[in-house]
Symmetry: C2
Subunit: 260 residues, 2 copies
């Protein structure tokens, strides 16, 4: 099926960016639901859609219903829908497709792997969109839709998607926390975080050419205990950071010990 | 003093990239020393310099002598030099300037904050160059030279520089280790690391506009125990990664608890 009419259930960051992109691709956004009337109204206005704040008012005019709410609300919202013959998907990394299983409709997952902000439009073209579907026909419909938004569309089952989500926590949340630690150390020394930006840029640019396994450098990776001890000493007055430095250095040391 | 003639002591990644850039800026590279004759010869040939593998053959023709060797060799190398009236610097983040102190010469530090590869030329223009010097005149000479290479030249004392080096370990080595963990998790699930590249790019692009403290997201930062438990469950078969996930999530949880 060539999906043309879409209803958005949710008005958060993913719903907003996805809705804007779908509308830009000339899809008709029929309704936008949010339990917060003002949020529904604001997003609906941007998309030329009807705003609703009551799930029972969701109508059957769309081809596709995208549930984009917090993880533990997906099942609860789905339980209140009655959309015979339609396609119902969610957009979550860590919710299995089974949660949407329903004899009356087709279910699927439409997971764009990116970090979104409500007010910062992203270029969808390179964002991987992970698709899963209850049946082959739905998979084809969702894949066709995803290809209108992105050049990178992948079939991913629920277990793989969960692992992608975990990997994304390492690659996004945990790395940002490392940046946060360096921000605070620099600020305490009267320096500003921007001194690290060229290094950060180079570190991640490298990954376009080589894998992290080959890119790893630093005192722990080369087993340079002398530098590690110097660093721990200067971290004496930063107890929390010292513990983190010590633990992660140990993980890295152990990683390379076990490899050799 | 307007530095024109330079001797490189060392032929590693920093010496190579710095030498190439200085030569491109029409500085005369007089000699290149390495204890490995072949390494000295190769770099000297690229720079139109004389190759030497014996410290006693270093001549007094240069204005500036750049010691760019592994951290614990800096003092040993400096002890063998006799360069009355010259400027002698090192390029290390975690070696204090005192190591070069000598009544007969001027000492300094010329620390480019970047990760270098021998065979990948970098754009020096945006690389922060951290300067420290034994006296005001030397500081001026080194600053003038640094400004020929980069638009970002900063006065940084030894203690600050050490902290920058520690912060760089967090922002480069530790983040790359997080990427490495995600690479392995993805590979074990039959997925390839490149699926994360757009997310990684967005995560770091953000830092051009907001500081890490404001950019932090994810289950631990919002205290979402349910998702954390799901993730730990899927990591059951990846014991090492599970421990790392657990620890870093705890650091983040504690960080936000203590802030509130």
């Amino acid at each position: 099926m060539n999906i043309q009419k879409i209803t958005l259930i949710g008005s958060g960051r993913v719903a907003t960016q996805l809705g804007l992109k779908l509308a830009a691709k000339h899809k008709k956004i029929v309704q936008v639901y949010s339990r917060h009337p003002e949020a529904a109204r604001q997003l609906a206005a941007r998309l030329g859609a009807e705003a609703i704040d009551d799930l029972s008012r969701i109508n059957g005019d769309s081809d596709l219903y995208i549930i984009s709410v917090v993880d533990d609300a997906v099942a609860k919202v789905a339980a209140k829908l009655s959309l015979a013959g339609k396609i119902v998907v969610h957009t979550s990394g860590s919710v299995p497709i089974q949660v949407l299983q329903n004899a009356n409709w087709k279910s699927g997952v439409f997971y764009p792997l990116q970090t979104f902000a409500k007010d910062k439009n992203v270029d969808f073209k390179n964002i991987p969109i992970c698709i899963e579907a209850s049946d082959k026909e739905t998979e084809t419909s969702l894949t066709m839709l995803a290809r209108e938004l992105s050049e990178d569309v992948r079939m991913v089952n629920s277990e793989q998607r969960m692992m992608i989500h975990v990997a994304a926590v390492f690659a996004n949340n945990f790395t940002n926390f490392m940046y946060l630690m360096s921000q605070e150390l620099l600020e305490k020394s009267g320096l500003s975080f921007d001194i690290l930006l060229p290094l950060i840029r180079e570190t991640t640019d490298k990954l376009n050419h080589i894998l992290p396994r080959e890119a790893q450098t630093g005192p722990a990776a080369r087993g340079d205990e002398e530098v590690i001890q110097k660093h721990l000493k200067i971290l004496e007055e930063h107890e929390g950071k010292k513990i983190i430095y010590q633990h992660i250095s140990e993980y890295i040391l152990n990683y390379y010990k076990n490899k050799n």
